[in-house]
Symmetry: none
Subunit: 254 residues, 2 copies
DNA sequence: AAAATGCATTCTGTATAGCGGAACAATTTA
DNA sequence: TAAATTGTTCCGCTATACAGAATGCATTTT
């Protein structure tokens, strides 16, 4: 009478995690009775599970005999994000971008005031790209960097403002000009670099974000200006934005 | 035979969480056998626990029959920190400190006898700091920790006294010395660590408090000693203190 | 191509881990 | 002071989660 292959579930583990979830979802600490009522468990059962969670460090027993989630839960969760294999999650959309644009595709994360390229797909056209995997570039003058910068601009503005070193004659070296550019970037949803790092190399970038909007990286496309006809800018920008969104969604399901 | 009151621990829950921890701590996904070997569990046991975790959404089964942690763990953990929206409240003053000092800025909370860094802004100078977000440090030898310790010193003194392990030759390992240092800290209004945790890394800390004086966290600045000229100590100390006060005021309005 | 290893998954009988309910102590409420 | 709620302990029963062996599928070795 049981369904075909009802996945077997260990009730102890299940109940324990439900307690943990309850405790993390609530601002105040809770007592045994309250907890057991809300979760539909026996008092003694709840008590024992709490003891276990305390012993393992996930829950703290307050002096007033109530229980609260510790930061261990958060730490464990954090490491998921840190180990998140962005590369895997992004691979598919990078291939898509490559096919659509035939240009060089980058996957970058931020490291201080630089971007670090953690993956790329080389241009399909006979033009070499200069940035190897592992390579870095200043955050304020490449597509991926400008995208990530725009997200944390309030915090990073003043730091960046001090190192607006020019790389080409297009590089933005005036903080006010950067302010404007960042505002535009946020509005537009993707970043555009008009040859500000490498002469005649334009690039686009859009952020990859976690469900809480935290930026974990960016996708970018690099294009030699000679390859670009009028109208391509909007098209590629939209493509990058779409791809980054798709990767963000992808991350959610990991 | 059994010790006085050995706290009862549900093994199922314990094992389940150990699997989760393992999976979150690792970049790649793992198979049942590998997992069971590393954790010292039976294969069938591991398999069943994994089934449970999958059913609850904490773990994902890959097409290649390996298992990986999902973002659910992260989401659950995140709500712990969210429920104290310290990060938001502190962001502005952290940026201020970063601008004023150019050094690494930390936002920390206390978790037992450790501090946990829940946010940071990296140094603008070309020197890396190696405490990641989520990282921990002993409460008695870093700026943020010493600040928080000084606030609850009557309660924590005896516990801390038992683990005064040295990390550098500057680490305070004598409880009487610590008594004095804590008294000074309270008087001064901010804490100072003279390279007691990391050799040649000095740090400052000041408490963030609720209206009822309860300490909820601390702001800190970390400085390599070579960056410090005479007089900087007082200046940075004052800055940190001021920043922490501002955040405390800010919290009131959230 | 056959044998041997590795894997994930299923099965099953059994021991025991984890359970519910009752009892107790300590507070809080009436 | 009595009644009602707390958190915690105890205990005997049984459903639960267990170990180990068996299965079936892939790879690798011979």
């Amino acid at each position: 009478m049981t369904k075909p292959s009802e996945p077997r579930v260990d009730s102890t583990l299940s109940k324990g995690l439900s307690i943990l979830e309850k405790l993390t979802s609530v601002k105040v600490s809770m007592g045994v009775s309250e907890l057991s009522r809300e979760l539909g468990l026996t008092k003694s059962n709840t008590f024992r599970l709490l003891q276990t969670l305390v012993a393992l460090g996930y829950v703290r027993r307050e002096p007033d005999k109530t229980y609260a989630a510790t930061l261990k839960t958060w730490q464990v969760g954090r490491s998921v994000v840190e180990n998140l294999n962005l590369r895997t999650a992004a691979a598919e959309m990078m291939a898509f971008l490559s096919e659509e644009t035939k240009e060089t595709i980058y996957l970058a994360v931020r490291d201080g005031l630089n971007v670090v390229y953690i993956d790329k797909i080389d241009s399909l056209k006979p033009i070499r790209s200069w940035n190897p995997i592992g390579g870095t570039a200043p955050i304020y003058c490449v597509g991926t960097g400008k995208a990530m910068l725009s997200a944390d601009y309030p915090i990073l503005r003043d730091q960046v403002g001090q190192l607006l070193k020019p790389f080409t004659d297009k590089t933005i070296t005036d903080i006010n000009a950067l302010d404007k550019d960042m505002a535009k970037t946020r509005l537009r949803g993707y970043a555009f670099d008009a040859g500000e790092f490498r002469q005649n190399i334009l690039s686009f970038g859009a952020n990859i974000v976690l469900p809480d909007e935290e930026v974990v990286g960016a996708l970018g496309v690099s294009v030699p200006d000679v390859n670009l006809s009028e109208g391509d800018v909007d098209r590629i920008g939209a493509l990058v934005q779409h791809a980054a969104r798709a990767v963000s969604k992808n991350l959610r399901m990991l």
